[in-house]
């Protein structure tokens, strides 16, 4: 198999409302930044992989009218969309495009412009079809909101299940928010930047639905991310320190609209996330990583909800199950720590949904390439893991990056 490496990353600034640009123009900001970062022009790229979560913008196949802004003129283009994992799936698609030998250099583009739609309505369309089935069971529609976890969705079930199994407390959740949002303050592209935030500040925010408070939940962002991938050979000509993508793996489990719908039966507890463990194990194996705890230098788990940072830290096999809260307390996850987690600020600080999982890969790549600027971690990053989560609690995507090829 050919080596595949990241040679350029571009992100737009993420904010709640970008009303000065349209979707295509917003995405251009990330795309042009990626070309600049890679030192390439669109003419030197031979394929485009793109995706977003279209229900948020209300535009079907948005590349049909918008891609002219992204340097795609008469190029091969593949649209990959998988919900919350979309960005990760787009990154994986770009990886496979180069690894297959069919393309030498491709650009991965993922985005969301949530202010063009109604995020809650957008999210609700995830389950409307299931709700339609629920009505067949005579479920009282007024209960559905509470069942669905109100605005926070099924994450509340996942959170309480995880907290029970790990001993994680709401205090840990507060600390996760602090870790991420103070990191975000050093990332110019991040949305919620809260330098000086304290756990007490988070604990004082309103409870949405137990156990999640407003301070534990991601914002809705407008933003885009682009990443240029090429062969190892070409990457070495373009930069001294490319970020190799050693492997990617995804795993899909059963959709978990708990019970009743009959179509989501949740054989697995939403807090288990076996599919994340499976994806991580496969990705490490392909990447030649035998001992992720000691070999991985940095992690970008996809955590729009505070408990997920800890839960996915465990499911990415970076510590034993139930150990993550203690790892958090130890300070190891901090920017200067042993295994920094989300130095970018993570999804809890910035969530342009379709872009978020690509941003995890892009942030890991930037850290390896030493291009993260103010949020560059102190230690040298040799190997990093990037993750994405989505679907109805059932999709996980994992990418393993390194400063050397697989060998």
């Amino acid at each position: 198999m050919r080596d595949v490496a990241v040679v350029g990353v571009g992100l737009s600034k993420h904010v709640s409302k970008r009303r000065d640009v349209n979707i295509a123009e917003l995405v251009w900001e990330a795309v042009s930044a990626a070309y600049e970062d890679a030192g390439l022009t669109p003419g030197e790229v031979d394929g485009v992989i793109t995706g977003n979560m279209p229900a948020f913008e209300g535009v079907n196949l948005p590349e049909c009218w918008g891609a002219g802004h992204w340097g795609t003129y008469r190029k091969p283009l593949l649209r990959i969309t998988t919900g919350g994992t979309t960005g990760g799936s787009v990154g994986h698609g770009a990886f496979y495009a180069v690894a297959s030998g069919l393309f030498d250099t491709v650009i991965a583009i993922a985005f969301e412009k949530q202010s063009d739609g109604d995020s809650t309505a957008g999210l609700n369309t995830v389950i409307l079809a299931d709700i339609a089935a629920l009505l067949g069971f005579g479920v009282d529609p007024s209960l559905l909101l509470a069942f669905g976890g109100g605005a926070v969705g099924i994450a509340v079930y996942q959170a309480s299940s995880y907290m029970k199994s790990s001993g994680c407390t709401t205090h840990h959740l507060d600390k996760v928010s602090v870790l991420c949002r103070t990191n975000a303050a050093k990332n110019p592209h991040a949305h919620l930047q809260q330098p000086g935030l304290t756990p007490d500040d988070v604990a004082k925010t309103d409870l949405m639905q137990y156990p999640l408070r407003f301070g534990h939940v991601c914002p809705a962002s407008d933003g885009a991310c682009a990443m240029i991938l090429t062969t190892g050979e070409r990457a070495r000509k373009l930069t001294d320190r490319p970020a190799y993508i050693r492997s990617v793996a995804s795993c899909s489990d059963e959709g978990a609209l708990i019970g009743i719908g009959g179509s989501g039966t949740l054989n697995v507890d939403p807090g288990r996330q076996e599919s994340c463990k499976l994806a991580a194990a496969r990705a490490y194996e392909h990447a030649g990583i035998k001992d992720p705890r000691n070999e991985i230098d940095l992690a970008e788990p996809y955590a729009p909800f505070a408990h997920q940072l800890l839960m996915f830290y465990e499911r990415l096999l970076l510590c034993d199950e139930g150990e993550a809260p203690a790892v958090l307390n130890s300070g190891s996850m901090e920017m200067a720590g042993e295994l920094p987690v989300c130095p970018s600020g993570g999804v809890i600080s910035t969530n342009a949904i379709g872009a978020s999982a690509l941003e995890r890969i892009a942030e890991a790549a930037m850290q390896i390439m030493g291009r993260a600027g103010e949020h560059q971690v102190q230690k040298d990053v040799h190997k990093a893991v990037a993750h994405g989560w989505g679907g109805m609690v059932n999709l996980n995507v994992v990418a393993v990056l390194a400063d050397t090829p697989r060998g």
Partner: protein, 153 residues
Amino acid sequence: MEYKEETTSIQGTWPLEQWRWKHETSVLAKKFLEALKDKKIIGLKCPGCGLVYVPPKPYCRCLSIPDEWVEVKDTAVITTYTFTGSWSFGGRLEGTGAPLVIAGVMYDGSDTQTLAILDGVDPDDVAVGKRTRVKWPENPQGGINDIMHSELI
């Protein structure tokens, strides 16, 4: 050209009211709900892997079609739970008093989870792994509400 921070917004919709989703579950539900009238909870068992789906499901992850109706118990184990906060129901519960506890429960004999309301239970008393029993109404109507409420055992 004068650069504007706020430009014109064009309004549009996704007229989903025109969509008609198709579900086998609506048909399976009839049999499931009918059994509730006799205070029986039934599910479908998969011939391929033996999983029991409650409520019934038309397909299995092993690509077989669950086709055998089996009865499961009304006792269950809690797999996860939540309780409502001020923003549940879009904030409508604010100030109404006791939180509503909702648990994911797996009926004994079933391999899947469903949701149940634990009435009047203090959230501090709920825990994953605790057991519950359905609080049947005196005269079940053959609706999902018949098993919507459970109590801690």
